[in-house]
């Protein structure tokens, strides 16, 4: 029988763990919520896959209706926010509560929790902003949750090139696209609001420390999950 060894594990925060799962209750609660959210997004993505590959008429081709380069930039923003979130986690785990601090012999200043969480919030808010701009442009061009609006630019394109624009499946395309990206955008918005609340009430007053940073780890799990879902959505909705 192996004997117990006490080693410093940087990946295991120093919090009292609940018996059973071996983690503290709010972290376990977040994981259970994320597991339920997997099923929620599965319902949306599964519906899209079934509708898309079940219909016999052609579906709009990638890039015909949606602005893929703009959304690729948005994906980049969300990936950047994910790495800044994990840097915020690492910073507070090391006890770095500050914004930026000069490091002797280095040009770049060292970022603390306040800096990295602010970067995450800005990237998340920018993602939502870009998505709102995308929606406004799509609706303006005639792509709505009910399909191509009559008399719009996209309806004219669809009439001229029914295969490229999926003229017969515009309604299904619109409803599934806005449902999936809309619910994801709602998740991102909730994440940004939650982080802003934590930033004002806990991070700025320096209530987190290297001994207790549970709130940062839990909101971080949520944020990375939102990034993970977008990675799948971007591929399925925009590229395939």
């Amino acid at each position: 029988m192996p004997h117990a060894t006490a080693t410093a594990d940087l990946m295991r925060p120093p919090f009292p763990a609940e018996p059973g799962a071996g983690v503290y209750s709010s972290k376990l609660g977040m994981w259970v919520f994320l597991a339920s959210d997997v099923m929620f997004f599965t319902a949306l993505i599964g519906t899209y896959i079934i509708l898309r590959f079940g219909v016999t008429e052609p579906w709009a081709q990638p890039g015909a209706v949606l602005n893929v380069p703009l959304t690729a930039f948005n994906t980049f923003l969300l990936i950047c926010s994910s790495v800044s979130m994990v840097k915020a986690y690492a910073a507070i785990a090391d006890g770095k509560k500050y914004f930026l601090r000069a490091v002797p012999g280095k040009t770049l200043r060292d970022g603390g929790l306040k800096f990295w969480l602010l970067v995450t919030m800005i990237c998340g808010a920018a993602f939502v902003g870009v998505q709102v701009v995308e929606y406004i442009k799509l609706v303006g061009h005639g792509f709505t949750p009910t399909g191509y609006r009559e008399g719009s630019l996209l309806a004219e394109h669809a009439a001229a090139n029914a295969v490229r624009y999926g003229a017969a499946t515009g309604g299904l395309y619109g409803s599934t696209f806005f449902s999936m990206t809309g619910f994801h955008g709602f998740h991102v918005t909730c994440g940004v609001i939650s982080m802003t609340y934590l930033y004002v009430t806990k991070v700025l007053p320096e209530k987190y420390s290297a001994q207790d940073y549970r709130g940062i780890e839990v909101i971080g799990l949520y944020w990375h999950f939102v990034d993970l879902v977008w990675i799948i959505l971007f591929t399925i909705v925009y590229l395939i």
Binding site: T7, V32, S82, L221, T235, L239, I240
Partner: protein
């Protein structure tokens, strides 16, 4: 029970992987002449690879205990069953 010490992963390197994989995905989707069926498989493979990188290293699943990993993994086969069952119904 023996505890294994873990070092923090290189988060910036993971970010680099995610960025490069995204660029490959967009380039493959918009600029390549790969047959559609192969393209779908390649894009799904790249998306799952990226999702695993996020789950393993950013969400630290790689360093968690098995019993916590199971919490997140349980709905995945259920999700697959949900989609496959409905697609099968459509095919039959």
């Amino acid at each position: 029970m023996e505890t294994v010490a873990h070092k923090r992963p290189n988060y910036v390197a993971i970010w680099g992987y995610l960025f490069v994989l995204t660029v490959i995905e967009v380039a493959a989707a918009l600029m390549s002449h790969i047959p559609k069926h192969w393209l779908i498989l390649i894009l799904l493979f790249l998306a799952i690879w990226k999702a695993l990188l996020v789950a393993m290293y950013f969400m630290h699943l790689r360093f968690e205990r098995w019993r916590l990993r199971v919490v997140f993994m349980v709905p995945l086969p259920l999700a697959a069953i949900l989609v496959l069952a409905t697609i099968t119904e459509k095919i039959w």
